[in-house]
């Protein structure tokens, strides 16, 4: 008894450490959100949304002030592009109106698009070890685990494309946790559209995305565009990921490791789209 009274702090320390180790082990293999997490997030997510918007406002204001001259140039460029696009649009409308076949194709494409939900990011992980964030929608809006998170990005050619951002890992009532493709836990099967070969990639703690082709005899080139392959039924196919930025021979020289520059700018994301995929 005397021993317990004299050393209660150390005993509490050891006991809590052991409990936490068990906790970490159990929660790392469990994939669903617990009731405590859901309850906490339901309450806190509203407040987080307010503060995140405040931060976004200040950040955008600071960006605008720093880039006034660049914004004017950009505005002029966009105005010129708009006139060209309007002209082309008029020309294309004439072609479409004359063609029943094109009309039917347009209707078909509208019907096969995935249902999506526009979400706002309400908090980000700050630890430097993970690249994760939470969004302000959850099961109330029919979001589910493994729904794909995307963002519209403008490529170098001025074309707006869908860029892969990440995947929903846990869903609460009105909030969800998202893991990005630069996180090590996120593994994506890809295909190189130049050589039509598939591979697997993942992020890392230095937020670089790297991977390798399933066929070790594949020859890839810098700048090859990488899309999701759809293998594994997690990520739907043909979502743009990025371009190959570096190719490195592995130590045994039997395969090459490729590094991919993602098309999405992860430092500047506020609003995202979640594709609701029926599986």
């Amino acid at each position: 008894m005397k021993f317990l009274l004299e050393n209660y702090k150390k005993l509490i320390f050891v006991l809590i450490i052991l409990i936490l180790i068990v906790f970490i082990g159990v929660s790392s293999s469990s994939y669903d959100m617990s009731a405590a997490e859901n309850g906490t997030g339901n309450v806190v997510s509203k407040i987080q949304g307010v503060f995140f918007n405040i931060g976004k406002t200040f950040s955008n204001a600071a960006y605008s002030i720093r880039n006034v001259s660049k914004l004017n140039e950009r505005n002029e460029y966009l105005e010129n592009s708009l006139y060209e696009l309007m002209d082309e649009n008029r020309r294309l409308k004439q072609i479409v109106n004359r063609s029943e076949v094109l009309k039917a194709e347009y209707e078909l494409q509208k019907n096969i698009e995935y249902d999506y939900e526009k979400c706002q990011i309400i908090s980000k992980d700050d630890s430097s070890w993970f690249t994760r964030f939470t969004v302000n929608k959850g099961s109330n809006e029919d979001l589910k685990k493994n729904d794909i998170v995307i963002k519209a990005v403008e490529t170098d050619d001025g074309i707006v494309q869908i860029g892969l951002l990440g995947i929903v890992t846990q869903v609460g009532d009105n909030w969800s946790k998202v893991i990005t493709i630069t996180d090590e836990e996120c593994k994506v099967t890809f295909k190189d559209i130049e050589n039509d070969q598939a591979g697997i990639m993942s992020g890392s703690i230095d937020q670089k995305i790297s991977g390798y082709f399933l066929n070790n005899k594949v020859v890839a080139s810098l700048g090859d565009e990488i899309f999701t392959s759809g293998i594994g039924n997690i990520y739907i196919k043909d979502i743009y990921i990025g371009k190959i930025s570096m190719i490195e021979d592995t130590t045994d020289a039997s395969t090459s490791r490729i590094y991919i520059e993602p098309i999405v700018d992860f430092s500047n994301i506020y609003d995202v789209y979640v594709l609701k995929v029926e599986r």
């Binding site: 906790f23 790392s28 405590a36 806190v44 950040s59 700050d126 836990e185």
Partner: protein, 170 residues
């Protein structure tokens, strides 16, 4: 009332950490305000309160962002335990003691996270990338510590809640 205020400040700190503070980063590194709060509170409260604050801060942080519960809890718990147990061995009148505590606490936080990630199977060979971020975060934490401390003293003074026996204004 003092304890309630401390818990509320920890909750506020966690919310700020994941929202506003992410916009004030240097080379994608944000200061860790929760470590600062835990150090300040652990030096001025009893053992059980400091442990409870650490567990609360860790659980809220893990619930809101991570899929694995316990990583932040473990780090914050060790920091709070160490600060509370060692506070009588340290001369808390000197600024350098606080600076050293902040640096060590930041290193403990990342060290424990690295340790846990290694055992969870993460590839931690790119530790050099994180090492630079740890240094930057340590510097940011030191710069913020005295501001946060003054702010806490101010809040307690405004609300007429006794913070410590001697309010050491630095």
């Amino acid at each position: 009332m003092k304890r309630v205020l401390m818990f509320l400040m920890i909750l506020f700190g966690v919310i700020m950490q994941t929202t506003l503070l992410s916009f004030f980063s240097i080379r994608e590194v944000t200061p860790n305000i929760i470590i600062l709060l835990l150090i300040i509170f652990s030096f001025s409260t009893d053992f059980f309160t400091s442990i409870a604050l650490a567990l609360f801060a860790g659980l809220i942080s893990d619930f809101l962002i991570l899929n694995t519960i316990g990583i932040n809890v473990l780090s914050y718990f060790v920091i709070a335990y160490a600060c509370n147990c060692l506070k009588y061995e340290m001369d808390l009148d000197k600024k350098i003691v606080y600076v050293a505590t902040v640096v060590v606490a930041t290193l403990i936080y990342h060290g424990i996270t690295l340790f846990v990630m290694f055992f969870l199977g993460y590839n931690v060979s790119h530790i050099y990338y994180i090492a630079e971020k740890i240094l930057i975060q340590s510097a940011m934490n030191i710069a913020l510590f005295f501001i946060v401390r003054k702010f806490i003293f101010f809040i307690f003074k405004i609300l007429k809640v006794k913070f410590d026996e001697d309010l050491n204004e630095i």
